[in-house]
């Protein structure tokens, strides 16, 4: 490059003009199969946020949804069919992580 700035990535040096990065915003741990948590520091109004869920007990993570108006994350067990055996065991030790890309 003749000017500007580059960053070291897995794909080598990349122009800062063309790179998107993720930054850590917030995290909390959960131990119940359902619940809510308020995260005022997170915003997804422009679609450039992301929430991930990492389980510590190797079991299935909860299904979750984010309400950007109330800033509340809700989680619960996935919608299971009562008429067939459920092969998922629900995690009771997990962590939500909030990311931003903007």
């Amino acid at each position: 490059m003749s000017y500007g700035m580059q960053l070291f990535t897995n794909q080598g040096l990349v122009d800062v003009a063309n790179i998107e990065v993720a930054r850590f915003v917030y995290t909390f741990s959960g131990t119940s199969t359902s619940g809510t948590h308020t995260v005022t520091a997170f915003d997804d109004s422009n679609g450039l946020g992301h929430i991930s869920c990492i389980t510590n007990d190797k079991k299935a993570p909860p299904q979750f949804s984010w309400n950007n108006s109330t800033k509340v994350l809700s989680w619960q067990a996935p919608n299971s069919n009562p008429n067939v055996p459920n092969i998922f065991q629900q995690s009771t030790s997990f962590r939500f992580v909030f990311w931003r890309f903007d």
Binding site: L7, F8, V21, R23, F24, S52, T55, V84, P85
Partner: protein, 246 residues
């Protein structure tokens, strides 16, 4: 801002800033399959017993070549029982926890674990060269001596097939969807769930698709085979994905 550091890209998105730590590479490696088949090129990887398993604020991305797919299934090997009407037995691949199935022309699966910069070993330590950025709490937000996680985009996918325009070559995926059948008496069928396919160098597709084979139903009362006339879901839920460059 009245002071500090902010460097943005052409979209005016922050790349380097002094507010929050960005994500960087923490470790990487290659997984070998714990099981192969039933179809050519189908492999299963038990992530939970490998260093690819994320903990804390980490996230794992798997590199997927064009034309290949990957799926996530957090299953246990024991699959139902009384008082259920049916039991499922002998899946070909789904016998491990935190399992990722993969179809590829090569059996190994490259993984990359990223974490926030202040959790990267030695990030922010004096190195004698380069550039570091800290926030007002003294937390390192960026370090030029570490590998920056270059992301593409993330989102949620339901039951509708979704095409994603992205030149990213790696994905982090969590899925809760599972269905099986229909099953004719005595026969087997596929297990279906969210499958992420890298369809080209500039696109991905995430849709409900075949993940595994070999499932059949058996009555727990007398052990005879049973049939499932339709294709009932087991879990009906969304998938969440995040794309990145590795």
């Amino acid at each position: 801002m009245s002071y500090g550091v902010t460097i943005t890209n052409s979209q005016n998105h922050k790349v380097i800033q002094d507010g929050d730590p960005i994500y960087a590479l923490k470790r990487s490696g290659t997984l070998s399959p714990v099981k192969q088949g039933p179809e050519t090129g189908w492999y299963a990887y038990d992530v939970s017993v490998s260093s690819a398993e994320p903990t804390g604020t980490e996230e794992v991305f798997f590199k997927v070549n064009v034309g290949n797919w990957i799926a996530h299934k957090p299953f246990f090997s024991w699959l139902g029982g009384p008082p259920w009407q049916y039991q499922y037995y002998e899946p070909e691949l789904s016998q491990y926890n935190s399992l990722w199935n993969h179809s590829s022309n090569q059996s190994t699966l490259p993984y990359y674990v990223f974490d926030r910069m202040d959790n990267i070993p030695n990030a922010g330590n004096p190195s004698g060269y380069g550039m570091q950025v800290f926030n007002s709490n003294g937390t390192v937000c960026w370090d030029s001596n570490k590998v920056t996680n270059r992301v593409s985009r993330g989102g949620t996918v339901g039951s509708t097939s979704t095409n994603i325009s992205s030149t990213a070559n790696a994905i982090s995926l969590r899925s809760w969807q599972a269905a099986v059948g229909p099953i004719v008496n005595g026969n087997r069928n596929y297990l279906t769930g969210h499958v992420a396919t890298r369809t080209s160098t500039s696109a991905w597709n995430i849709a409900i698709g075949n993940q595994d084979w070999g499932w059949f139903a058996r009555s727990p009362s007398d052990g005879t085979t049973a049939q499932i006339p339709n294709s009932p879901y087991i879990n009906n839920a969304d998938a969440r994905y995040l794309l990145a460059y590795v």
